[in-house]
Amino acid sequence: MNDTLDVLLRLVGVLVVFLVFPLLVGQTEHKVMAHMQGRLGPMYAGGFHGWAQLVADGVKFAQKEDVVPAEADRRIFQLAPAIALLPYLVVLIAIPVGPDGFVGQALDAGLFFVLAVMGVGVLGSLIAGWASANKFSLLGGLRTAAQLMAYELPMLLTAASVAMAAGTLSLPGIVESYHWWWTPWQIVGGLVFFTAGLAELQRPPFDMPVADSEIIFGAYTEYTGLRFALFLLAEYAGIVVLCALTTVLFLGGWHGPWSDGLGWLWTLVKTAALAFVVIWLRVSYPRLREDQLQKLAWTVLIPLSLAQIALTGVVKVVIS
């Protein structure tokens, strides 16, 4: 009975995080972007500095009509947002927040699990692009697939580098064996991982698949109302997952001063700082063209991640 209750509580906790954190990131994005551009951003909804803006947005999305194009493949069109969103919920289960089992479910091959499930989410935008029966959507879907293929590789390679360094595939295990000098040692890998993750989420400057000035909104062009909101939510949930993963793998998770009691806070602070960087990058950099985007992956990120693996291997052999 106690076990079941424990599992239930953990799952509810993960669900709450999944529902709240993406909205927090979204709201932060509104405000941070606005202030970086010399605006105020949302100020009215909810009274204090527009804190309820995203709630209001959600209500608005829910009221809109759910339109399915006549030529579209109905069922797949309606299924796509769920496929895009759910993997991130599943991934959150395996991400450790604090020491001593402060994690939804510790998995033996957690790193593998996380990367495997994250790759599934892209299927959502891919089939959304195909099922919309719209050439812009199809172009967006194709670009999504090409981008995934290019950036999955450096992401896996750098994650493998961390696994080599830690000697384990379990995420809590990786954080356990972290030392401060890991961050300079794995810094290249960390940068590559973060960049590749951004590209997989199709965040600016890697948002060629949804480039609104040329293909309207890519795979999501035909979506309205709640289903469109689900795609947006998937993007922000993806940011949360990516930042948390980078924290766990490269920044030492809960390690920090007073980490015995405040470990979970360190994880959250590091994740939030990375999320801020994600927003910052969106404001700072222009969108990469499709060929530049592929070139970056194949000629910069993959060689860098291979070099990182070599470095990790050499250091690992030297210190053992």
Partner: protein
């Protein structure tokens, strides 16, 4: 029960594992049947996702965790995306394609059915009284798999990496257009994304 097995809280009794295995197996089989019979090309790929995911669950039930996650990573994450990519580049239509099946499907059905009957009979007859013991050590934890892979299977592993490299080079050579002469003849607007 050692610490590796402790990750599996044992919600399911042994019979529970069997029942789950059979149910997931039926779902996998159904998805596989739909994959080879549906006339909508992209639906076939999506049913294939269900079938491959079901197999990953079966691996988990057989305590081969590492294989299960590799299955999800490689098959669902990459192979199916590649297949969908291919379907989109070959202009898969929405709705039914009348020419998805060839005329010899009845012959094919006969061959498959005959093979199925023979093999099922042989397999059931051979393993009538064989039981898999799923208790104790997890057979396919990443530790166990990694150890066997890098202790006993190093040479095949390295050979495989050469094969992968060859496949990579081959795919690039196949899909690039040599110069303008060959590319001029075919007017596919989709070649850009492939390269």
């Amino acid at each position: 029960m050692n610490h590796v097995a402790a990750h599996h809280p044992g919600f399911l009794s042994p019979t529970g594992v069997e029942i789950t295995f059979v149910l997931v197996g039926l779902a996998t089989l159904g998805a596989a049947l739909l994959t080879v019979t549906t006339r909508q090309l992209v639906h076939a790929a999506l049913w294939l996702v269900v079938a491959l995911g079901g197999l990953a669950v079966e691996y988990l039930l057989l305590t081969a965790e590492f294989i299960a996650w590799v299955q999800v990573l490689i098959y669902v994450g990459s192979v199916v995306v590649l297949l969908l990519f291919g379907l989109m580049l070959t202009k898969a239509p929405i709705g039914r394609s009348p020419d998805a099946d060839s005329e010899n499907r009845w012959v094919a059905l006969g061959v498959a059915a005959a093979a199925a009957v023979t093999l099922v009979w042989v397999v059931v007859d051979a393993f009538r009284s064989t039981w898999v013991d799923l208790h104790g050590v997890v057979q396919g934890s990443s530790h166990a798999t990694g150890e066997s892979l890098f202790r006993h299977w190093v040479l095949p592993f390295e050979a495989l990496s050469v094969l992968l490299l060859a496949a990579l080079v081959g795919a690039i050579v196949l899909s690039r257009r040599d110069g303008e002469s060959a590319g001029a003849g075919s007017t596919s607007g989709t070649g850009k994304e492939k390269s």
